[in-house]
Symmetry: C2
Subunit: 140 residues, 2 copies
DNA sequence: ACTTGACCTCAAGTTGGCTTGAAGTCGTAT
DNA sequence: ATACGACTTCAAGCCAACTTGAGGTCAAGT
């Protein structure tokens, strides 16, 4: 199984060298060995990078993403956490859908002022219900 | 129409005073007047804040969000931009869906190593197709 | 008249996720 | 043997989006 150096990884994953080094620095990925000074990667890192990119697009932090992998690079998430994360994603999808609906409303509704259009307001209120964020939000 | 002060806005929107002041500083919202030193807001700011919160959840930057409002606080987006943004959101939804599918796969697939499971890899490759990001990504 | 507490300003600090720059190291092709 | 170019390190810088802290103001209640 031939190894790839950082330039090839960049070319095939779209992730910049500086980013790859940064990911390594924070422990998210690792290069398997060096050829001289040069990092050498196993091809399977590409799969991992796809996953990282995807999870980032899903709004997960690098720390959260790192927590999805076990020692030897295997994806290892306890079932309960998977359910939680999946729910979280569903939540995000709902928000995005709401946002898209709002945009479509703006495109289509003939009301002079959207901000006062009742159906517009209803859409927004609906999206609020998911984040009551009362007095002391658990800022974690 | 009675005015609200910052504490009430916080209570009803879940947006902290420091954040509200920051939003004002960057021109995203404005308080209509002062009572002594205290900012007074029109109740309709709450609708605007809902929209801001929603758009933020959709991954839009404050600058982009600011661009969606006209001078007098009305939502004013050229149709073409609405289409673009809606497409962008659809894109994000697809990514999130892919991510959720990956998670479900991990929960269900009996393969010893997901990273090598062909159907797992297929899902990831599919998500890659959307961001080829060749040599010089147009960093805008 | 005084106290209280919710607000205020302004500058500086924080976090996450990178990027940039200067200076150095190597393997490969000539 | 030398030059080239792709890599390397390390520290510092950058951006967005806030948050924090010190010190100040003010209206309303007693």
């Amino acid at each position: 199984m031939k190894l790839l150096d950082i330039g090839e990884i960049t070319e095939r994953s779209g992730v910049k060298p500086s980013t790859l080094r940064y990911y390594e620095e924070v422990g998210l990925i690792q290069s398997i060995t060096r050829h001289g000074l040069r990092r050498q990667y196993e091809p399977q890192i590409l799969t991992k990078l796809s996953l990282i990119t995807l999870a980032k697009a899903g709004g997960f932090s690098l720390t959260e993403i790192a927590g999805m992998f076990s020692e030897k690079g295997q994806l290892q998430i306890p079932r309960e956490q998977i359910r939680e994360r999946a729910d979280l994603i569903d939540e995000q999808i709902k928000e995005l859908t709401a946002l898209r609906n709002v945009l479509h409303h703006v495109a289509d509704c003939p009301a002079p002022s959207h901000m006062e259009c009742p159906s517009f307001q209803r859409m927004l209120k609906a999206s609020d219900r998911r984040k009551p964020a009362k007095k002391k939000p658990p800022t974690k």
